[in-house]
């Protein structure tokens, strides 16, 4: 459907970070008054695309990008956020960029104040000395708020406003800029309650009706369905689909976001396949307060010896499960292993119970980046299980020192077994590649001899070859060492590749459990919360 001239076209955008392609030939366009939704999982390239549109310095300091950007049909070079703003691009941020001590009006008008000349400013010919024209500014702010259907008083300070209102103040600031014709919303509803989110969607429609074009980034599919005119789905840095509103259904989008052709590999068989009669681990009504990944009453049973996948869209709480059980975020509920309750909220207790965790935040939680490989591997086992310690001096049994020989031998064994590419056990882990860092994290967990291993996003941020190695490693651990594995991943493909069953989490609860060979549509449906099905 050919309409007026597009306000924005991004053509063939390709961007590499250090040889890693994060965007590959992505094109997207925007008509006047249109709401165009950009959906994709974390790491799909949404933010990078927006950073390019905004001319963020991080893009240019890492070698720029290829492809072109056209605004109103004219090719433009956006080298800084200031230039992007001049071209009429506004951005509503995920985190609020507001000054709490200032009033709503002052925030809306910050650095664009309406001013009046006075004697001094005339004398020095400097607008910095002008008076502020507060009544005019308040009028403008009022007008912007009215366009958003906000009845809130414009002279209130921002501090103390409900979160949802702050979001609206942020939007009001953008639409108050007269030149704005394109507004980018980066997951604006992430922190809003449902009613607030509904209001926000209402304002989006109103703004679009006013002729402002909107790029709406989100992974909440209901919202996409509610407001978007067109939808572009990004996956792994590629635009995998462009849909018109009338041809889009939630399941299809969910499927496109996560789906990936799976090469079915034949997993080695076991002597005895895990079954419901022998449970290793049960989770009952688990609540985890992990910001952005809240778990709200999840129950799940894990069979002994299986690899259980945990999937679901971002923000629905799949990452909260492992983090909550391991004591990294406040949790409540009943979690038991072999029938015995496991104390929550104490990392040490949980580790003593024979659980181990490979965190999704490898560099932040998983590693001591400036310490050598061997220390990274050994420190948790040493602290929790008193491994790698020996009495010293010999006659004083109470005093124990790190047993470097044993630790060195163990590390070298791990380096060989897991094929960690490094200069030796004393190399600091910071200088390893992502895949090898991940293997160090796995080695660290293995040093604990875990019965149950939680692995979160094991292949995030590592290259394709290393992904396979890490997955093979998990299968080997499961088959050879009989470790029960709970693997959380955003990549449905890899869950379906190695898991015995895949549990799907929706809004912090279990939506259902599917066999890995269920169809893409079934997974899509479940991730979108359209079915609730108990265990297979």
């Amino acid at each position: 459907m050919e309409r007026a001239q597009q306000v924005l076209e991004m053509k063939g955008i390709t961007k590499q970070y250090f040889g890693n392609t994060v965007l590959n030939d992505v094109s997207i366009d925007l008509y006047p008054g249109e709401i165009h939704a950009l959906v994709g999982e974390n790491g799909a390239g949404k933010s990078t695309l927006m950073n390019i549109l905004f001319g963020m310095p991080v893009i240019h300091s890492t070698g720029g990008f290829s492809g072109e950007i056209l605004i109103d049909g004219k090719k433009v070079e956006l080298l800084s956020p200031a230039e992007a703003m001049q071209m009429g691009i506004g951005m509503v941020h995920q985190e609020f960029m507001l000054l709490p001590g200032f009033t709503i009006t002052e925030n809306i008008k910050l650095n664009r104040e309406t001013t009046r000349k006075n004697a001094l400013s005339r004398l020095f010919k400097s607008e910095f000395l002008d008076y502020l024209d507060t009544p005019a500014m308040r009028k403008d702010a009022r007008h912007a708020l009215d366009r958003l259907d906000m009845s809130i008083d414009e002279w209130l300070p921002v501090a103390g406003l409900p979160v949802g209102y702050m979001q609206f103040v942020e939007i009001a600031r953008e639409i108050d800029k007269k030149e704005v014709k394109i507004l980018v919303f980066d997951e604006p509803t992430a922190v809003l309650t449902e009613t607030e989110a509904d209001r926000l969607l209402g304002s989006l429609r109103r703004l679009a009706a006013d002729g402002i074009s909107i790029l709406f980034i989100t992974h909440r599919l209901d919202e996409v369905m509610a407001v978007a005119d067109r939808i572009t789905v990004l996956r792994d840095g590629e635009a995998v689909a462009r849909l018109n509103k009338d041809e889009a259904v939630v399941e299809r989008i969910a499927e496109l976001m996560v789906g990936r052709r799976i090469e079915k590999v034949d997993l080695p068989p076991r002597d005895k396949e895990p079954g419901d009669e022998d449970l290793a681990f049960t989770i009952d009504n688990l609540m985890v307060d992990m910001p952005g990944e809240m778990v709200r009453g999840l129950s799940l049973s894990v069979r002994r010896g299986e690899i259980l996948g945990i999937g679901g869209l971002a923000g629905h709480g799949k990452l909260g499960i492992a983090n909550g059980i391991m004591g990294l975020y406040p949790a409540s509920g009943r979690v038991s292993k072999n029938g015995d309750l496991i104390p929550l909220n104490s990392p040490e207790q949980v580790l003593l119970e024979g659980l181990a965790f490979v965190s999704e935040d490898r560099r932040g939680v998983g590693l001591l980046l400036d310490e050598p490989i061997e220390r990274n591997i050994g420190v948790t086992a040493m602290q929790v299980q008193h491994k790698f310690l020996r009495p010293w001096p010999r006659f004083l049994s109470g005093l124990r020192l790190e047993d470097r020989k044993e630790l060195r031998a163990y590390s070298e064994e791990m380096i060989r077994k897991l094929d960690i590419r490094c200069l030796g056990p004393t190399q600091p882990v910071r200088s390893l590649s992502g895949g090898n860092q991940q293997k160090v994290c796995v080695a660290k967990a293995l040093a604990l001899d875990p019965e149950i291993l939680f692995v979160s996003e094991p292949t995030r941020g590592i290259d394709v070859g290393a992904k396979r190695l890490v997955l093979d490693l998990l299968v080997r651990l499961n088959r050879e060492h009989n470790v029960t594995i709970l693997m959380t991943s955003s990549e449905l493909g890899e869950l379906r590749k190695i898991c015995d069953r895949v549990a799907i989490v929706y809004r912090g609860r279990l939506a259902g459990i599917l066999p890995p060979d269920a169809s893409d549509a079934e997974f899509g449906l479940m991730m979108a919360g359209r079915v609730r099905k108990e265990a297979i």
């Binding site: 391991m326 580790l351 965790f357 965190s359 980046l369 310490e371 040493m382 005093l399």
Partner: protein, 346 residues
């Protein structure tokens, strides 16, 4: 050739190269102007042993994640109280020195723990708050020195019979006991085995501490608190251990310093005690996140040798004394340099 040279320079660190170069020049000048180089080295070694443990006190706070211990006077004051108790009892020689340490350590543990509780509540501002904690405790202790119930006439003002003197002579107590122990000559350089041995003993003890489970837990807590928590380590407790250990080392350090100096200085003397120690460890190549025993030894040797040799040599060449100025420029300049760089003194 060039990249290798650059690598070597980076490895050693520019500040250390400059200071070592400057030291070399000083020794050459000393030799050319017929000064006794062995004597200069002897003096320098004494200064190294005298200050070493105070510098060592910086290591635990750095590795537990609190940063440089600008609140060093807290520990120094505990050491002074311990020394005073030993002197009040009239103890002398080695028993006096040991008693001073034995009295000082429990005080330092208690005070250090309170200091750690305070630092816990100002996370991220530890170094600045520590500076002012040091300053204010020195001031509070000035009142204590005046009111303290010490009776030994050697310690208190001759007139009035109350309040401790500014400077106390240690000659009759434990002055120079370590300095004069196991002294030997090597190429004309007099080396005090007692003093240097004591310093190296403490270095060894701290090195061993870092190989215990507790020491490793502390390093992990400092390097990455989230990692430490996920490994079941109590990060708050580890920080407290680091601060207490640093305070104890400061207490022992000042006793060794005083015995070597021959005097115990009260009132405002401990006020600036932290700065030379901070400067020395930074010159040794420590950063705000990481410090090793070798940083302590190298830093103390470079910094103290510079201070000891600069005065006599420069006054020989140019009339007048610039060593105090040089000391201030080097120590404060080094602190400024390290604090403004993300990698610290490296």
């Amino acid at each position: 050739m060039m990249p290798r040279l650059k690598q070597t320079v980076e490895h050693i660190g520019v500040p250390r190269l400059i200071i070592a170069g400057f030291l070399a020049i000083i020794f050459v000048i000393a030799y050319l102007t017929d000064m006794s180089v062995p004597q200069l080295i002897t003096d320098s070694l004494v200064r190294v042993g005298m200050n070493g443990i105070l510098v060592l006190a910086m290591v635990p706070t750095i590795s537990c994640g609190v940063g440089l211990n600008f609140g060093l006077p807290v520990g120094v004051l505990s050491g002074l109280v311990g020394a005073l108790i030993s002197m009040e009892r009239g103890l002398a020689g080695f028993p006096g020195l040991l008693a001073a340490i034995v009295f000082a350590v429990p005080i330092a543990v208690v005070v250090g723990y309170l200091y750690a509780l305070l630092l816990e509540s100002v996370k991220g501002q530890e170094m600045m708050v520590g500076t002012y904690v040091g300053f204010s405790t020195v001031a509070v202790m000035c009142i204590f020195w005046l009111m303290a119930p010490f009776k030994n006439p050697e310690l208190i003002w001759a007139i009035g019979g109350k309040g401790l003197r500014f400077t106390l002579t240690l000659g009759n107590h434990f002055g120079k006991v370590l300095n004069n122990f196991a002294v030997f000559q090597l190429f004309g350089v007099k080396i005090s085995g007692g003093l240097l041995g004591f310093f190296l003993l403490f270095c060894l003890l701290i090195y061993l501490f870092y190989r215990t489970k507790l020491g490793i837990a502390m390093v992990a807590a400092g390097a990455n608190p989230v990692f430490a928590r996920s490994a079941g380590i109590d990060v708050r407790q580890m920080k407290a251990v680091g601060v207490v250990l640093s305070t104890v080392l400061a207490a022992v350090g000042i006793i060794i310093y005083a015995q070597s100096y021959g005097f115990l200085q009260l009132y405002m003397a401990p006020l600036m005690m932290a700065f030379p120690a901070v400067a020395a460890i930074l010159i040794g190549g420590a950063s705000l996140q990481k410090a090793t025993i070798s940083n302590v030894i190298i830093g103390t040797i470079l910094f103290q040798t510079l201070l000891t040799t600069a005065l006599p040599v420069t006054s020989r060449v140019i009339q007048g004394d610039i060593s105090e100025v040089a000391r201030l420029i080097i120590s404060n300049g080094m602190i400024l340099y390290a604090l403004t760089r993300p990698t610290g003194g490296k």
